[in-house]
């Protein structure tokens, strides 16, 4: 595995490459890539942090834990709440901030705060020719030229190797609480979540765990405000089912960390799929999946499904507004079905055209995204 120590060495490694490279941060989110591993873990460290401006700049290989610790010291956080894939995927290693953005990893708060890509302000990356490119910057509003920052977020290393990221952070709220609404089935759950998300009470998490038989709603903010909104939401959701309030902030936080990391699937056998869909379609879609286990987040807009090994879940899902990603499976299943949902021809042509420009030799994680 190559672990260059700075951006210049990273560029040189790419320039010298004669064969496909498996691009990685901490190696916790992707497994089984062909090619020699090229890790950015040697590019590490927070280069700038201005709490009053809500911005941080860090080398791509900076451990996520280091970023989160620095933010916590100023009572701030990454509002998009990236999940830790290690438990679900059975991987080891140290998640990096570059990996978080390269995979556009967003947790339950995505419904309120936005995705990782919404917080990414600027990037530096090495393109397929080994050149260092910058785009965006470190200010929150920037429309100077094309937004390649968004393009790099969620491109899983296929367009370039991130060397530095700058991103927006937010204050950590004073406290949080969770409402647990007893519901009978996914349809009732999504209806309840939709009522809450369509309320003015700023829900920052909206999930449904069939095992608990409960729709779960998170409220964050100053203590009096959390208490007020919990009361209003309880009244609003009373018709949906019995409402229980989890007032203890630590208990609430642990509950959402488990949802974020899909903890119920940990150690369970089978393939794991992640579907993005229109929330109101989620109950019917989920039924078609005939999954062994399900977990719903984002008000129903995100479905985690555990199915027997080798299942072609996309065939079961049929047609819907959204897409399915194969998150955990044996290499032969992944090779057969592909991690990412194939796109319609005109979109696939644009994506292929972009990859050919950014990585003309086709050496960055080839085949991963098409």
């Amino acid at each position: 595995m190559m672990t260059p120590k700075d951006e210049a060495e990273l560029g040189e490694a790419v320039r010298q490459a004669k064969a496909p490279l498996a691009i990685r941060g901490g190696g916790t989110r992707l497994t089984g890539l062909a090619g020699e591993a090229l890790s950015v873990s040697g590019l590490s460290g927070i280069t700038l942090y201005e709490p009053g401006a809500l911005t941080m700049v860090a080398q791509a290989g900076t451990p996520l834990a280091e970023v989160e610790a620095a933010l916590a010291a100023e009572n701030q956080r990454l509002a998009f709440e990236p999940m830790d894939h290690r438990g679900l995927l059975g991987t080891e290693g140290v998640p990096t901030i570059g990996g978080v953005f390269a995979a556009n990893v967003s947790g339950p708060r995505r419904v309120q705060a936005g995705a990782a890509r919404d917080f990414l302000l600027g990037v530096r990356y090495i393109d397929g020719m080994g050149q260092a490119i910058k785009n965006g910057g470190r200010v929150m509003k920037n429309v100077t030229g094309y937004d390649l920052v968004k393009l790099m977020a969620g491109s899983w290393g296929t367009l370039g190797v991130l060397s530095e990221v700058s991103f927006k952070v937010l204050p950590r709220p004073e406290t949080e609480a969770t409402l647990r609404v007893a519901v009978d089935g996914a349809a009732a759950a999504v209806r309840a979540l939709s009522v809450a998300l369509g309320s003015p009470f700023e829900v920052s998490g909206a999930a449904y765990d069939p095992d608990q038989g409960a729709a779960l709603l998170r409220i964050e903010g100053f203590a009096p405000s959390v208490s007020y909104r919990a009361g209003r939401l309880s009244a609003l959701l009373g018709a949906s089912g019995a409402v229980e309030l989890v007032e203890d902030a630590a208990t609430s936080a642990a509950l959402w960390a488990a949802l974020r990391d899909v903890a119920p699937f940990r150690g369970q056998s089978g393939d794991v799929w992640r579907l993005s869909c229109k929330p109101s379609q989620a109950p019917e879609l989920a039924a078609r999946l005939k999954a062994e286990a399900l977990l719903f987040d984002w008000g129903g807009g995100l479905i985690w499904a555990r199915v027997p090994e080798g299942t072609d879940l996309r065939a079961r899902a049929g047609s819907y507004d959204g897409h399915a990603t194969l998150m955990r499976a044996a290499p032969e299943t992944r090779a057969r079905l592909g991690m990412f949902q194939p796109q319609p021809a005109p979109l696939a042509a644009i994506a292929a055209g972009l990859r050919a420009k950014f990585d003309p030799r086709g050496i960055f994680n080839p085949g991963l995204m098409g």
């Binding site: 009053g52 429309v143 100077t144 390649l148 393009l151 869909c277 807009g301 949902q341 979109l347």
Partner: protein, 482 residues
């Protein structure tokens, strides 16, 4: 400011182009009389004017695709236009171009409160998107100050922001899907009612591409439930540095206002003379708005008041009712109109790290003396988006040129401070030639290759965003087949 010479061979094909377009458009959707095409000679950057060869006003995605396909076959440049409110010249035509206006495509296609989305044709104005959902107490968050007139198409083209984006984000954070027509007439559907469109984030790069990658005809937008209430406070300071420190402390304390607006003394005086909002005559004025229920608002305002008190404000004014809240916003909302009453002005929108505010304001003050033109500053303090208004006299020979030179120096200063040339207006033609101050050639080349993929013939809005010399080889297009 230079634009490419019109292509004589394109101008010579005007009659044939009109004949072909008339086969796919209704007669009233095709404007080719020079007396009428003049209506499209500029957008809100009125210093530059050039009538297009033709203007078309299609009514459907199908018609847009037909127009683009024909123009592509004929090798004719196309300049997309929403409502023509661009301050950067994004919709400025060339004499050999076709203006493609989406203004007649303004339908609401779907409102879906369960999934919290609205789907519209992009000629619809920003404010009328909210208008379509406000009966259910929902709203569309991005609120550029031209929101009464500006179209969603232009908002997507420029990735427009607004006063409330500190909390709600800009257009790209509220855009979930688009129907995009490529220059060759191909229609793409990207994203939709689900979060995070599949594959590469094409939505992200299309938003803010200034009409250079395709024409967006339909959009799926996120709508939000209106907060229970909102209330502004006004505070005045004797020192802009202190005002900046106050903003920083409020943010650090964990309060996230929905808007933080800043005005300096020249701006306060001009708006006061115009709007009589009762603003204090001081060095720096902040308007901070928070949202929630009455008790939640009261709690946040108590915290803000405590923090402000540590910075010794010369004035702290709370709004007791809607009328007082309106008066607090009155001056800010009339700032641009007030400036327009007393002078011609140029409005820039460079963004800086908020920590650089005192230095940047001081330098702008020094430059104002050097150039001999007054500047009033009003800006979104929470996110560092400056709006210096340079005052000049359009009737005085040389004043516009001096103003532009001054503006360019301010924008270079923003970049030096760690910021950028434009936070929400876009590059257009106005800041095109400054792009090499922000980016190295290799950085621009990466952006150009994106256009190569979407629009290989470089026919869509080709003379914008990038310095002309940088794009010259790409714009030297072959003649269309005879």
């Amino acid at each position: 400011m230079q634009m490419p010479q019109p292509d004589a061979s394109v101008l010579a094909r005007k009659d044939r182009l009109v004949a072909r377009l008339s086969q796919v458009l209704a007669p009233d959707a095709l404007i080719h009389d020079p007396a009428e095409t003049r209506a499209y000679e500029c957008d809100a950057l009125t210093a530059y004017k050039c009538a297009p060869m033709l203007a078309v006003l299609p009514r459907s995605t199908r018609e847009v695709a037909d127009v683009l396909r024909i123009c592509h076959e004929e090798g004719v440049p196309v300049v997309p236009r929403g409502s023509g409110t661009s301050l950067a010249g994004g919709a400025l035509p060339t004499a050999d171009s076709v203006i493609l206006g989406v203004a007649r495509m303004n339908a609401v296609l779907e409102t879906d409160f369960d999934n919290r989305i609205i789907r519209v044709q992009t000629g619809r104005t920003n404010l009328s998107v909210t208008g379509a959902v406000e009966e259910e107490d929902f709203f569309y968050a991005p609120d550029p100050s031209s929101q009464l007139a500006c179209a969603i198409a232009g908002n997507i083209g420029m990735n427009s922001g607004g006063a409330h984006c500190l909390k709600y984000g800009v257009t790209t954070n509220n855009l979930m899907g688009v129907t995009l027509v490529l220059m060759d007439g191909t229609v793409l559907e990207i994203g939709g009612a689900h979060l995070d469109a599949g594959g590469l984030d094409l939505l992200g790069v299309i938003c803010g591409s200034e009409g250079q990658l395709g024409v967006v005809t339909e959009a799926t937008l996120r709508i939000l439930r209106k907060p229970e209430g909102a209330r502004p406070v006004l505070m005045g300071f004797d020192d802009s540095e202190v005002a900046g420190a106050c903003v920083s402390d409020i943010i650090k304390a964990g309060v996230l206002p929905v808007a933080i607006e800043f005005m300096d003394r020249p701006c306060i005086r001009a708006t006061e003379a115009f709007a009589h909002a009762g603003y204090p005559d001081c060095e720096a004025l902040l308007i901070i708005e928070v949202e929630g229920s009455d008790p939640e608002i009261a709690h946040q305002l108590t915290l803000i008041k405590e923090i402000a008190a540590r910075h010794d404000p010369v004035e702290f004014r709370e709004a007791a009712d809607a009328d007082e809240a309106g008066r607090i916003w009155l001056g800010r909302k009339s700032a641009f109109g007030a400036m327009g009453q007393i002078n011609d002005y140029m409005c820039l929108d460079g963004t800086i790290p908020v920590s650089s505010l005192p230095m940047v304001l001081r330098r702008i003050g020094e430059m104002s003396k050097d150039f001999g033109l007054d500047v009033a500053n009003v800006f979104h303090a929470g996110d560092g988006n400056m709006h210096p208004l340079i005052l000049f006299d359009a009737n005085k020979p040389g004043d516009l040129e001096t103003c532009e030179a001054f503006g360019a120096e301010i924008l270079k200063l923003c970049v030096e401070a760690g910021g950028c040339l434009t936070g929400e207006h876009g590059v257009g033609v106005e800041k095109r030639d400054l792009m090499l101050h922000q980016y190295d050639p290799v950085d621009l080349e990466a952006q150009l290759t994106v256009k190569d993929v979407f629009d290989p013939a470089w026919l869509l809005n080709p003379a914008k965003v990038f310095p002309l010399q940088v794009t010259e080889a790409r714009r030297a297009r072959p003649l269309a087949a005879e």
